[in-house]
């Protein structure tokens, strides 16, 4: 295994984060904090509890998940798209690195950045809303698993995209609506029955539900199903990445 190669890609990507701290860290932390202020402190104080949890605390897992998903996709897609755009991808393609090593480097870095960001957001949330974590291990496990899964998804988007517009389409047009409709601000039990059934087709419901269970021990679906669905999506992304490298799709002509 070319560990030096993996390290080189990983270090390169992490250096990009350090160079763009405002964009990579400060911006998502500030925007998520605004949600905490508006929905948690301001509006939340006038809302009733959900499952005996204050509204401000209830929305924290969903908001952290929103940032985590968006940043994982953005970090990984940008990480692999930029070398394609600038032409420096030639170096990765001509290097003695396997596709597993390439993915480890890019996705590993993207997931690391997202986990760091998730932790910063959680710490920031404490400033505005009082919350506890019932299962810290599972909370961290969900954080890492989701970051890896969606970084892989972002990696696929970065390879698929042939322009900056396409790079933005999936996060903004698909992922954001799925997160908002996936129980970030409410429990799906609060929806009419038809919409509850429709919501179960939204994969983000399982992520948020599982993550919220790790915080408060309450969930819309059983935590085992949440873990299973996350692993299923992770497997699907891994198969897609394997196929991309096997066929050279949009990488090797």
């Amino acid at each position: 295994m070319n560990l030096y190669g993996v390290r080189a890609i990983y270090k390169f990507e992490m250096a990009r984060m350090r160079r763009t701290l405002m964009q990579s860290v400060a911006s998502p932390v500030i925007s998520t904090s605004l949600y905490f202020v508006v929905f948690g402190s301001a509006i939340g104080s006038r809302m009733g509890d959900i499952d005996n949890i204050s509204y401000g605390a209830y929305i924290i897992p969903g908001l952290v998940m929103l940032s985590l998903l968006m940043q994982s996709i953005s970090n990984a897609s940008f990480g692999i798209y930029m070398p394609k755009f600038s032409g420096t991808i030639y170096e990765v393609l001509s290097a003695p690195v396997s596709y597993v090593e390439v993915v480890l480097g890019y996705v590993g870095a993207a997931a690391t950045k997202s986990v760091i960001l998730g932790i910063i957001i959680l710490i920031t949330a404490k400033l505005f809303v009082d919350y506890d974590v019932l299962h810290p291990f599972w909370m961290f496990a969900f954080l890492v698993l989701t970051a890896i899964t969606f970084s892989l998804f972002g990696f696929i988007i970065g390879i698929w995209a042939d322009g900056f517009e396409k790079l933005q389409i999936v996060p903004l047009m698909i992922v954001t609506p799925l997160v908002f409709l996936g129980g970030t601000f409410y429990s799906i039990d609060m929806l009419p029955e038809v919409w509850q059934t429709i919501s179960l087709f939204n994969p983000v419901v399982y992520l948020i539900s599982g993550f919220r269970w790790a915080f408060y021990g309450v969930s819309d679906v059983h935590v085992g199903i949440s873990v299973g669905m996350t692993l299923l999506f992770l497997t699907a992304c891994m198969v897609a990445v394997w196929w991309i490298f096997k066929t050279g799709y949009r990488l090797r002509s």
Partner: protein, 337 residues
């Protein structure tokens, strides 16, 4: 000894071994395994365009091989396949004795590539970019080697500069430094001096010679035929995806080259005299020059006969010039055939 320490030690001895290998090869002239071996290589793109057709090519260790061809001939496709950037459709390619598909790691470890385009990361520093390349190619960090490469390429003073702040010529040097960072035994230079000034071009030629002296095999594509003429040991010409010629440079120039004898006459002629009608002679527009063209390899009796005939006819000349055709003229002749 740990694996990393052993690798580092091997890495230090590699240039010496390469130099020795190339030296032995040159002195003994015995058949050795080619550094690049291409057999029946074909490349057909998804749109059906056949970019390479049954390419067969061996490149010997320690030589400078110039691959010439007009735009779109397939030079970059060939290089890209050998380096792993483009998939081959059919055939077999080996680099340093390793199959580029089945044993891609070892094959690619031995190759350095300087691509045609100035594809560099703008925000990285020179030092970081070159160190990144070394790591990517599976080599342990070696600040001493990076320092040497940067000094050799006059980049040492710029090591902490971001690449975006460098001139085009400097960026080209960074590309070369990146390609040399992992001490490759084979170096591909795809149009390395395109758009660089004369001074840098001379520097690069000097650097290429030094690399060759250290046993590095160099494959060069260029539009500047003078570059190939100046540096290459062997020349390959590719046209419409087919290798139409591979020849030792000096042999090629003597085999396909033409010589020209120009006689500056004392008095102008109206037309070529009848006695010279059968000779390959042209007359300049002003009538003051007789131009006699002959093959480099042809026996020289034609020149003596021409001079004798002119003497018999009383045609006097005040000066004689001879000139051999350049590689460029040979190349143009070949690709236009």
């Amino acid at each position: 000894m740990g694996i990393i320490a052993a690798k580092a030690k091997l890495s230090k001895t590699a240039p010496v071994m390469r130099k020795y290998r190339a030296l032995i090869h040159r002195q003994q002239d015995t058949p050795v395994q080619p550094d690049i071996s291409v057999k029946h290589l074909n490349k057909v793109y998804a749109d059906g365009f056949s970019a390479l057709k049954d390419i067969n090519l061996d490149i010997k260790p320690g030589e400078i091989f110039a691959l010439l061809g007009p735009n779109g001939a397939g030079k970059t496709t060939l290089i890209s396949i050998i380096c792993g950037i483009v998939n081959l459709s059919d055939g077999e390619v080996k680099a340093a004795g390793y199959d580029i598909v089945k044993d891609y790691r070892r094959a690619r470890e031995s190759i350095g590539l300087v691509p045609q385009e100035l594809n560099t990361d703008s925000f990285e520093t020179v030092w970081d970019a070159v160190s990144f390349s070394r790591g990517l190619f599976g080599k342990p960090p070696a600040p001493d080697h990076i320092e040497k490469v940067l000094k050799d390429l006059s980049l040492w003073d710029k090591r902490n500069n971001r690449i975006m702040s460098l001139s085009g010529g400097m960026k080209r040097r960074v590309m070369i430094a990146k390609a040399l960072s992992h001490e490759p035994r084979i170096l591909f230079l795809d149009e390395p001096t395109a758009g660089v000034d004369v001074e840098l071009r001379r520097d690069m030629w000097e650097m290429v010679r030094k690399l060759r002296a250290n046993g590095v095999t160099i494959i060069l594509t260029t539009h500047y035929i003078e570059e190939a003429e100046e540096m290459a040991d062997r020349i390959g010409v590719i046209r419409e995806g087919e290798i139409i010629l591979v020849e030792d440079k000096t042999r090629l120039m003597s085999k396909l080259g033409k010589k020209e004898l120009r006689l500056h006459l004392q008095n102008p002629l109206d037309k070529i005299p009848g006695q010279l009608a059968l000779e390959p002679v042209d007359l300049s527009e002003d009538g003051y020059e007789l131009i006699y063209t002959f093959d480099s390899q042809q026996e020289q009796a034609g020149v003596a006969r021409l001079l004798r005939t002119l003497g018999e006819m009383g045609i006097e000349f005040r000066d004689i010039q001879t000139r051999e055709s350049s590689l460029e003229e040979i190349f143009v002749g070949l690709v236009n055939e």
